[in-house]
Amino acid sequence: MSDLLLPPEQRFADVIKRRENEDGSELSILNLGPTHPATHGIFQNILLMDGERILDGEGTVGYIHRAFEKIAENRPFYQITPLTDRMNYCSSPINNMGWWMTVEKALNIEIPKRVQYMRVIVMELARIADHIICNSVLGVDTGALTGFLYVFQYREKIYEIYEEICGARLTTNMGRIGGFERDWTPLVFEKIELLLKEFPPIWTEFENLLTRNRIFMDRTINVGPISAEKAISYGFTGPNLRAAGIDYDVRIMTPYSSYEDFEFDIPVGQSGDTYDRFCVRNAEVWESLKIIRQAIDKMPEGPFHADVPDYYLPPKEDVYHNMEALIYHFKIVMGEVPVPVTEVYHAVEGGNGELGFYLTTDGSRTPYRLHFRRPCFIYYQAFNDMVQGQMLSDAIATLSSLNVIAGELDA
């Protein structure tokens, strides 16, 4: 493959010519995207097709690149969370929490146990929501719409929990540096309990619908496989790497937010194909439910935020009646709180892989440089490698099970 700037006909011209001379076959070029229903979001795959079979392909990124990393360089730290919301919008709370933890690491803030447990619950809820979408959309892309709409209402229930915690649903912008903006109301716990009670039978039903379905198995087994070595060399993480048989999970390797307190398993697959990715995600939902259960049961009493007046907004009544609080309030809202010179990397286990934040500060009010390690961007690099020699339908299933989300791909 030559220059990316060439039009597709010229880019693949050599291959097309060679095949025509060899056996007279006519190859065609298919633009799968940028506005194709299977590219959940916007990105373009230029595929060289021999009938229904994919010979070669090229992915084009950048259709919704919003320059988040550059924008972040001009924003005070607390204003960067809304940017993280818009990366993997299927599990924004994980992105939010990851960002807060990065900033807290840079500032060396000790976080109360209660906040850590609350964060674990929120992140696991987000993981469930993310996996619900990914797995049920794999069903849609293979032709079974019912599972999707059936489990979708439980994502709705999870969104209601977010709503109760922070007031927002999709782009949550949840929390603060040091904790949460307010303590959780009893309703939050009620809703989580209800979810823990109602969701498992529904998820079992969903698994029964697809996991042993002959057509679904035929459609996904050995489709878009990737070997463990290749997956590692591409930089795969998360469920997609675990499906290839590597038990790497950030929650275990470098525990954050007290993940070491909880008992849970890391499901792994064997062949790294679409079916294994589906099964790993299914199993992870059960593990997440287990973690939430434990976190609720062990939830300690205590403050819902760390005692960091420099970074955590004071209560509103203090702002009106207390000069120190007013000064803090003003400085925080105006983003005039400097962060010491430091360089940190913090990673969380995102909905679809290791979501890393690499932060360099120069002692000013904004990051000097911020890099998001976005798993989707990495998965998409391997996509062409994974679908070569497969059918068009396989490419769709593979793309779907890699869970490439355009917002995170382009940032």
Binding site: S28, L30, H36, P37, A38, E52, G139, V140, D141, T142, G143, A144, L145, T146, L149, Y150, Q153, L209, L210, N213, I215, F216, D218, R219, M391, L392, S393, D394, I396
Partner: protein, 350 residues
């Protein structure tokens, strides 16, 4: 006498046409309701009670939308495509025996537009034209996705027609007639063919799914890969015709399944009903029974669609050529052996 027949048939043809259209229209409504029910939703409920006016609203919307014509060198074919699909879907209903007979004003009215001797061949012939609508539309759209869908549809239809025809041969060997009226009449009582030809029925059922392009065989319009398949470029009522044709052919397929394998208008105790209640009530019940069977099959089509995923192109071909066709041939052989079992026994000296 001649005029009487012409008037009678005209009225009947008009009624059948109206019923087929109505059934297709309300199949779209039923599809949404069934899907909603299976997916734990409400479904259409704004237009009329239970959303019963939804198909009318849809039709009105489709008619009033802009007719978009893509930049294609085959504008004529682009217009012809949906028309072929639609007319073919409506033509099949001519040979279906909707009931046995009614006596109106002393005249015996046969509840069939025409009783052709080769009704089954006619049905097959017309159904195979159906793929031309898709082929023409897909080709004329000048769109790679549409063309791919047209190719898929054509190869799928051709492959599954063979298995379908072979599964029917076993049935015809038993029946000894190609007329749908004879086949219906021979299944009086509970002598339904499905009990004698279970394997043939299953093959025929699977092939019906393929012929009507329904999930799990809806490769021609799988929205995840080919956007809308052959009707990607279509808009307004032209697209409506394609969708409508799909529902009409689903209705016809259900009818054929009911007539060939589930006894048509026959129901247990029909003889008794004719004797005790008279010809008309008994046959009206027969019509209702036939429509109940049709509705059951339509529901089955929808149930399957909203439950299982679709095949991949090569898997579909493998199932057709390596699964269904050998099975259908085996079915023919088994049926033949069973039919001549006495002769074989005699020849072997039992």
């Amino acid at each position: 006498m001649e005029t009487a027949i012409i008037i009678e048939k005209s009225i009947f043809i008009f009624t059948i046409f109206a019923i087929t259209m109505l059934a297709a229209m309300y199949s779209t409504w039923a599809e949404r309701k069934v899907a909603a029910w299976l997916q734990d939703r409400v479904g259409p409920n704004r237009a009329g009670t239970f959303g019963l006016l939804q198909p009318l609203a849809d039709g009105l919307k489709l008619f009033s939308k802009e007719e978009f014509l893509p930049n294609t060198p085959n504008k004529f074919l682009f217009v012809v495509g949906p028309a072929v699909s639609m007319s073919v879907a409506l033509m099949t209903s001519a040979v279906i025996p909707w009931g046995d007979r009614l006596i109106i004003g002393g005249r015996e009215v046969i509840l069939q537009a025409t009783d052709v001797d080769v009704a089954i061949l006619y049905v097959f012939g017309v159904l195979s034209i159906g793929v031309y609508g898709i082929m023409i539309g897909g080709w004329a759209s000048n769109n790679k996705f549409s063309l791919m869908s047209a190719m898929r549809a054509a190869s799928q239809m051709i492959s599954y027609e063979i298995a379908m025809g072979l599964s029917l041969i076993a049935l015809l060997m038993m029946e000894g007639s190609l007329s749908l009226a004879d086949i219906s009449a021979s299944q009086a009582g509970m002598n339904w063919n499905v009990f004698y030809q279970p394997l043939g029925f299953i093959i025929f059922l699977v092939c019906s799914f393929a012929e009507t392009n329904r999930t799990p065989f809806d490769l021609a319009e799988c929205e995840a890969e080919l956007i809308g398949g052959y009707h990607t470029e279509y808009s307004s009522m032209r697209m409506g015709f394609y969708l409508f044709a799909e529902y009409a052919s689903m209705f016809i397929s259900s009818t054929i399944l009911a007539v060939l394998y589930f006894g048509g208008y026959n129901y247990p105790g029909m003889e008794w009903a004719i004797e005790n209640w008279g010809v008309n009530p008994a046959n009206i019940i027969g019509i209702i029974v036939l429509f109940t069977k049709i509705c059951a099959f339509i529901f089955f089509f929808m149930w399957v669609r909203w439950t299982i995923p679709r095949f991949r192109y090569d898997q579909l071909m493998r199932l057709g050529w390596q699964g269904l066709i050998p099975l259908a041939i085996a079915n023919v052989v088994i049926t033949g052996l069973v039919m001549v079992r006495h002769e074989i026994a005699a020849a072997l000296g039992f």
